[in-house]
Symmetry: C2
Subunit: 189 residues, 2 copies
């Protein structure tokens, strides 16, 4: 499973065997059953992970209602990254939607590696750049796109994923009602 992460890292930065050997000593693997939490409200976000397999959702609870704010899927990073960077307590939950597996690293180990291995520093930079681009596009889409266009972006970006996710979660994620989503789906089908 750690090999899978190595492939991802190699897509972004050059990494040799010696560097990988040092880095992989700080990695841990954990399995999650469906419904199990990677993070819960009030926890410190000390870890950033990589989803070896499975699917997670990212939500907060307000007035007893689950508000879905994101999904983490296979071959992607997983964390409440703002919280990880700011070292504060999470207002969000991260929950396995199916049996899943994560390779993760503790913040302290990562910060040590930044000093020890320039490629880790570089990898952290390109990762946060890609997270920044993703959230910037989502933020701007609120101003320049309709709910229908945002739904199409979501589906086209992750077609396989979309099939696995209940409609009410997609509606919540897009900030629209389930009825609004049904109307959009009728229009675009």
């Amino acid at each position: 499973m750690i090999e899978q992460l190595k492939i991802l890292v190699s897509e972004y930065v050059n990494v040799n065997e010696a560097e990988w050997s040092v880095l992989s000593e700080s990695l841990e693997i954990k399995e999650y059953k469906r419904g199990e939490l990677f993070l819960k409200e009030g926890d410190f976000c000390n870890y950033v992970g990589f989803v070896n397999k499975g699917l997670f959702n990212f939500y907060h609870i307000k007035g007893g209602i689950k508000h879905i704010r994101g999904f983490f899927f296979s071959n992607n990073l997983i964390s409440n990254y703002p919280c990880f960077l700011q070292k504060n307590k999470s207002e969000f939950y991260i929950e396995a939607m199916e049996d899943s597996s994560i390779t993760f690293i503790h913040r302290d180990a990562l910060l040590m590696l930044h000093k020890e291995l320039p490629m880790v520093q570089e990898f952290s930079r390109v990762i946060v750049e890609s997270l920044y681009l993703e959230v910037s596009a989502k933020y701007e889409s609120f101003f320049i796109k309709t709910a229908e266009e945002r739904y199409m972006d979501f589906v086209q970006g992750k077609p396989e994923l979309t099939k696995k996710i209940p409609q009410y979660m997609i509606a919540s994620y897009l900030g629209i009602t389930p009825e609004g989503l049904s109307r959009i789906k009728k229009r675009v089908s």
Copy 2:
């Protein structure tokens, strides 16, 4: 003016005189009159800058209407950073709202410095982390905050800046109508 940038850099990373001397060779300074553009729609975003003094706004034009998406002010970075990272053409304008000055660097020079000086790589990482945190908070605020709360966040975050900015621009930035903003201001005053 370059000293001002050095202070900012030093707040984030350790930088010695030799490193600063190499870095500062790649920096340029330019003055902008009120109304002058740092970036226009269709331009490649090859530069990232630092506002030595002044104030800029960041907007796009749709259906003949200026939609304000951000502000850049003294002692802060300035760029269409998503566009800078992706090396594509800008859909946005960046315009001086008053006589201003920017210290800037070309992307190619910055990428060379990433290889040459680890502190530049580290600085780029912490800068994009702070941009990521800012846009993540703005994005989440659409789901968890009222327009009034978002207005208060804006004012409290930059009280001095707010006084300099016309109300219609603040309304546009917050994604509300000028009338909506007037009602909010009456309620909170």
